[in-house]
Structure formats: C-alpha cells, structure tokens
C-alpha cells in the first residue's frame, strides 16, 4: 500500500470536501444539537413546576417567591388576573397566585385571608403539592410565625448529573457518526455514481488505497467534530489527551463502518436508507446515559459503547485514563477486527468495478454542471 497514493486521494477529499453541503451539515449538527438539548429538550425531561403571580399590593410573598429554587415563577406586572387564569387553564402555568392589595396585613393581623391559588387541571399532582406547600411556607415566613420544629436535611449519596450532561453522549455520537461514517460513505457512493472511482483506479492507486484514504478522511473529520462538540459543551475533563484518544478510536470505528457501507451501497438513496434504518444499532447506547437506571449490559452489546463510555467518564465523570483503559482497549480491538472486513469490502468492490457491475449514473440532468468528485 502506497502512503503517497493514499495521501493524494485524501488530499483531494480534504480540498473538495468543504464544497459539499453535507460536510457543512456534519460540522453544524453538533452545535445545533447542543443548543436544542440545552434550550429545548432539557426543559422537556426535567421541567420545573410553573407558578404565575398577580400581585396587587406589593406583597413580600412575591419577592420571596422569586427566590424559590426549582420553581419557575412569573410575575404578571400588569396585574391582569384574567390572563393569569387563562394561562393556568391552558396549561401554560401549573398554578396562579393572586395576592390582593391588603394580603400581607391581613395575614399578619391573623385575619386568615383567602388564598387565591388557582391550579391548572392538567398540572401533575406532585407539582400541585410542591406549589401549595411552597406558597403556604412563604406566607408562614411572611406572617412571622415561628415553626415549632427544626428541620435537619441530610443529603445521602452524590448529586446526579444534569440532564444536559447526560445527553452529551448523544451530541458526541452524532458528531462522530455523521462525520466519521456518513460523510465518507456518501463520498464513496458519490465517487461510484459519478464514475470518478473508475478514473482513479486507472492510475496506480489501488482500491484499497482509495478506501484507506476514505477511512482517514472520516477519522480526520470525526475527530474534528467530536472535539468541537466537547469544546462547545465545555466537557473536556481533566485528561484531554485521553479524551482525544477516545474520540480517535470512535472516529476510526465509525469511519471503518461508513466505508464498508459506502462500498456496499449501490447509490446515495440506498446509503441514506441504510443509515436511516440501521443507525439505531450504533446509536442506542446514548439512551443508557439519558436514563441511567436502564441495564448497562444492553448498551455494552453495541460497539459504540466502547468509545462513548470512556468519553463520558473522562469528560463528565472526572475519571482518569486508568479507569477507562479497558473499555478503550475493547474499542481499539473492535477497530482492528473491522480492518480485515474493510479490506474484504475493498476486494469485493474492486471485483464489481472490474466486472462492470458498478457503473456511473448514465444520464445526467441536462444543464447541470459536473459535480466535483468526492463528498
């Protein structure tokens, strides 16, 4: 295998790659996913009870409510009771509290004013309890009643990870799989469709060198996007070298899988369909980080676990290389084990190219210019 030939093909891909919109997609996707997870889906899985307040008399309860931890409090500055009640009824709020002008004085004087706390019909019973207890507690605090009890809180065990961190493997997986597997696979399919692979193989470059270049192309891209995803999430841990090594192993694994699929798929549509349907097999371990109570052995059946787990442990769990080397070694073994299969797929592709079973699309759309080979 000539390193020079591999480099020539890789250089061509690296030069032409940035022209492809799919590469842009691979680079932008981790950023979009991070924004979505932090801004949108985080709130879906771990939503806080939502309380709206209309304060008609500058009550101390309102100021104290805004300090509540874990309850999303909205104060209706315009004092619009109707809007508050509508929002409660439409499930835009779990509850709405209306504080009349003389509420504080009435509580302090022992007049026991009405607690106008309206609950949304669709709110969860647990959220209702949280808001009701919090409201009573705030009013007690404002009234000056001294509780006849001291409460001692004992925290047992470590604090769990925030959901946005538990979803980090999903972002990393997308970054590595799209750039590492999908991009080189589509590149290879594109070369077959446009016929440039035949042109390349007329030169001294062999099909195996051609495929090795595609694997390297995937490794370079996936490492870049994987590192970018972790940087964007500020999750590089204490051992960045070990993190990069884990990403490299993941990138290599994905690139090998991608190139094998690219060699096998007859056209881009088939390739996309395989990815759409089969990606679940490499993506499903991410679910086990989102829901950590699921049995881990199922995740361990997927090859992607053996780079995702080290990345997660190193970047989020503050573990060291010594804690993750076994998983990384298994990941590397999988990469090594895949290499002969990549070679075999290369031989298979060469045979098909030689027998004319792979031929470029015969008709090109009139008026369309020739697409550059590569991605």
């Amino acid at each position: 295998m000539s390193v020079s030939n591999v480099w020539q093909v890789l250089r061509k891909d690296l030069r032409l790659g940035p022209r492809s919109p799919i590469l842009l997609w691979a680079l932008v996707l981790p950023i979009v996913l991070t924004v979505l997870i932090r801004g949108v889906f985080g709130g879906l899985f771990e939503s806080e009870p939502r309380l709206g307040i209309v304060d008609l008399g500058d009550s101390d309860v309102t100021a104290a409510a805004l300090e509540l931890d874990g309850i999303a409090v909205t104060v209706y500055a315009d004092g619009d009771i109707e809007t508050l009640q509508q929002d409660v009824e439409n499930n835009n709020l779990d509850a709405g509290l209306i504080l009349q002008p003389d509420f504080d004085e009435a509580v302090r004087s022992g007049a026991e004013p009405e607690l106008q706390l309206f609950i949304g019909g669709e709110s969860l019973a647990s959220d209702r309890l949280v808001i009701e207890v919090a409201s009573i507690d705030l009013i007690r605090g404002m009234s000056g009643d001294t509780p006849p009890v001291t409460v001692e809180v004992i925290v047992l065990g470590e604090a769990g990870l925030d959901l946005s961190l538990r979803m980090l493997p999903l972002v990393v997986m997308y970054a590595v799989a799209i750039a590492g597997a999908f991009v080189p696979a589509m590149s290879l399919v594109g070369e077959k469709e446009s016929g440039t692979v035949n042109a390349v193989l007329v030169t001294p470059t062999t099909v195996h060198e051609f495929m090795a270049a595609k694997v390297l192309f995937g490794v370079v891209l996936a490492t870049l996007t994987g590192v970018m995803a972790l940087l964007f999430n500020s999750a590089f841990g204490n051992e960045p070298v070990a993190v990069i090594l884990s990403i490299l192993i993941g990138a290599l694994m994905m690139a090998e899988i991608g190139v094998m699929l690219g060699a096998w798929a007859r056209d881009a549509n088939t390739m996309f369909t395989i990815f759409k349907g089969g990606a679940i097999l490499i993506f499903y371990p991410v679910l086990f980080y989102i829901w950590p109570n699921l049995p881990t052995w199922i995740a361990q059946l997927s090859p992607s676990y053996y780079f995702l787990q080290p990345i997660f442990e190193l970047s989020v769990g503050d573990r060291s290389f010594a804690d993750v080397w076994v998983d990384l070694a298994i990941g590397l073994t999988i990469c090594v084990a895949l290499a002969p299969f990549v070679y075999m797929m290369g031989t298979w592709l060469q045979r098909r190219l030689g027998t004319g079973m792979v031929s470029p699309a015969e008709a090109k759309e009139p008026g369309s210019h020739k697409e550059p080979a590569g991605v």
């Binding site: 969860l124 309890l129 009573i136 009890v149 004992i154």
Partner: protein, 363 residues
C-alpha cells in the same frame, strides 16, 4: 376515461417499482416496526406521586391517610426506625425511596407542649431542589398542625381552585404524546421518499419518455400526486392502527391523515423538482422538515404554542392529530385546524405542481 386509465397505469408502475425493490420495501417495513416498537417502549402512565419513607412513631397511619388520597401527589411508606429510613434513602435497604422523614418518638407530645423538636429529612443527592424545599415545608406544616396552629390563610374549595378539566390520575402519558408525533414523523419522512422518486424520474429522464406517449403532463403530475399521497396516507394509517390510535376518533383522524399526506406530497414535489442530485434533495427536504418539526416538538411541551408556530404549515396537522388522539376531540372540534391544514395543502400542492411542471418543461 382514457386519462384515468393512463394515470392508473403510472400509479401502478410506481407501486410495482416500489414493491419490486426489495431493499426499500424491507426498509419501509422495518421503519414501521421501529416506530411501533418505540411507541410501545414508552411509558403509558404518568407518575404524579412523590414517594416518601416515614418513621413517625405511631402517627404514620394518620400521615398516610391524610396524604394518600387521590390527587395529593404523595405516597407514604412507613418504616419502623430512623435507621431503616436512612438505609432506604441511601439505597441500602430492602425498599428504596428518594426522600425519608424521621420524626422523633416524642414529636406530637413535644410540639403540643410547645417544645421545639428536630425532624430529620433524608434526601438523595440528585433530588430536585423544589422537592427538598417541599419536604421541609411539609414537615413545618405538620408541626404547626400538631401544635394546633391554624393555617394563616383560608383555603378555597377544591372545585373553585381547579381551572380546566382536572386530569389528576388521567394525565396524557409520554406514550400518548409521542403517538401523534410518530404518525407525523412518518408523514414527514414520505416528503423525502417522494422527493427521491420524483428526482430519479427527472434524472433518468423517465418523465421525458413517458411524455412522448399519449400521457399528458397534467396526467403525469396527477399520477405522481396520487402515488405520493397514497404512500404517505397508507403508512400513517397503518401506524395509527398498529399503535391503537385509530380507534379513538377514526373519521376525524383519517381526514386529518389524508390532508397531512397531501401536504407532504406537495412538499415532496417541490423538493424533488428542486434538488439536482441526492444531496440536493436531502437539503431541500431538510429545509422543509426542520421548520415543520417545530409544531411537533412544541406539542410535547405543556401549554399553548407561540403565535409564530401557529402559522407554520404543519401546525394544523399536529394539533388535529394530538387533539383527536390524546384528548378525544371530535371532527367538529378540530375543524379550525383542518381548515388551516387544507389551506396549506392548496398552497404546497400548487407550489409542488408548479415547480415540477416547470422542471419537466425544461428537460
């Protein structure tokens, strides 16, 4: 009549091509199986209760009785000692709970006598902060009650307090929420499938060959529209059947799905006519799919969608599916959403037919 048979022939040809391609046929079935699998994997109930382990030296029953009524959001598990509560919270006991309360043995006597006593609240490290605060507040309120102190406010009657239909014990589960979205997703994916079909006909110039025959352009366009709509509609209906959603309000849902299929067919025609190769189709499809996904994602969140979301073409479709399947709305109740959807169908279909006609004319 002859036109009808020509249209029928093209539709049959497309359908035969689809079923003959065993790979695509298999992947379509596999996709459906995945969607059905995901649906049945999701939880079909909503856990609305906070489970609390309590050692309360004689008044557990009282505490349990007061809190375990439906809608109180708390379930009490009694323990014989403080050590057992601590073990349960730390995950070392036979039963595991996230919160534990340990009242001293003389709690009621001490509080009644005006002596300040200490109650221990055990919590796990990952307990949300609002639950921690709720437990301390709850303990203080129990102590006030035991000391004979009234609430500082007067509570309104339950029926005055609840706004809207009270769904405690009957919440819309994640499974119920995701069902409509899976149906929506399968429709959206058909945008891409039809775009691919149209583009391949353009690229391979089959369309030119077909138009040399007595088939007219309008018949060709009609055939493509019928095939796309049938494919999207049949898959969506099949999925709805497999996840048991067709039984809730079948006529309303079928009309919604038919309009939804027309909408995605219109978009598929635009994407298929615009993209010059696979990547082009992918990007045109994604360009449509990303904004169209917004109402679907918004539907997962409680409350009403933002005003700008309501003007998106898929809003009427998503709302009609969600209201029919998750809330049991009737055809009359979802009519406004169907009207919006129908209007968008006209727009997207007109755009789709216009771009495809123009594209074919340039070949």
């Amino acid at each position: 009549m002859a036109g009808g048979s020509r249209i029928g022939a093209i539709v049959r040809k497309d359908f035969t091509a689809f079923t003959r391609d065993r790979f695509y046929f298999f992947m379509t079935i596999l996709g459906l199986v995945f969607y059905v699998g995901i649906y049945w994997f999701l939880p079909d109930t909503v856990d609305e209760t906070i489970e609390v382990g309590v050692h309360a030296a004689g008044f557990e029953a009282l505490l349990g009785g007061a809190t375990q009524r439906e809608g109180h959001g708390i379930e009490v598990i009694a323990f014989d000692s403080a050590d057992e509560v601590e073990a349960a919270v730390s995950g070392e006991g036979e039963t595991t709970v996230a919160i534990g309360l340990s009242f001293p043995d003389d709690f009621v006597a001490a509080v009644s006598a005006g002596r300040v006593t200490t109650v221990t609240v055990y919590v796990t490290g990952n307990l949300p902060p609002e639950l921690r605060a709720t437990m301390t507040g709850l303990v203080r309120e129990i102590a006030f009650a035991a000391a004979g102190s009234d609430l500082p406010v007067t509570l309104l009657a339950q029926e005055e307090v609840i706004l809207g239909e009270d769904r405690v014990g009957d919440q819309v589960s994640l499974q119920d929420n995701m069902g409509p979205l899976l149906i929506f997703f399968i429709l959206m994916v058909e945008t891409f499938a039809l775009a691919g079909l149209v583009a391949s006909e353009i690229q391979s110039r089959t369309v030119t060959a077909v138009l040399i025959t007595p088939v007219r352009m309008s018949e060709f366009l009609t055939a493509k529209s019928i095939f796309g709509t049938l494919m999207a509609f049949s898959q969506a209906v099949l999925l709805a059947l497999l996840i048991g959603m067709l039984g809730t309000s079948p006529i309303a849902l079928l009309i919604t799905l038919l309009l939804g299929a027309l909408l995605v067919t219109g978009l598929g025609l635009v994407a298929g006519s615009s993209g010059k190769d696979f990547i082009g189709i992918l990007f045109w499809s994604m360009l449509f799919m990303i904004p169209l996904m917004v109402p679907a994602i918004a539907a997962l969140f409680p409350g009403t969608a933002a005003a700008w979301v309501t003007i998106l073409p898929s809003y009427g479709l998503v709302e009609a599916i969600v209201r029919t399947t998750a809330y049991g709305d009737t055809l009359i109740e979802i009519l406004p959403f169907l009207a919006m959807l129908a209007a968008w169908c006209v727009v997207t279909f007109a755009a789709g037919l216009f771009t495809l006609r123009r594209k074919v004319a340039t070949l």
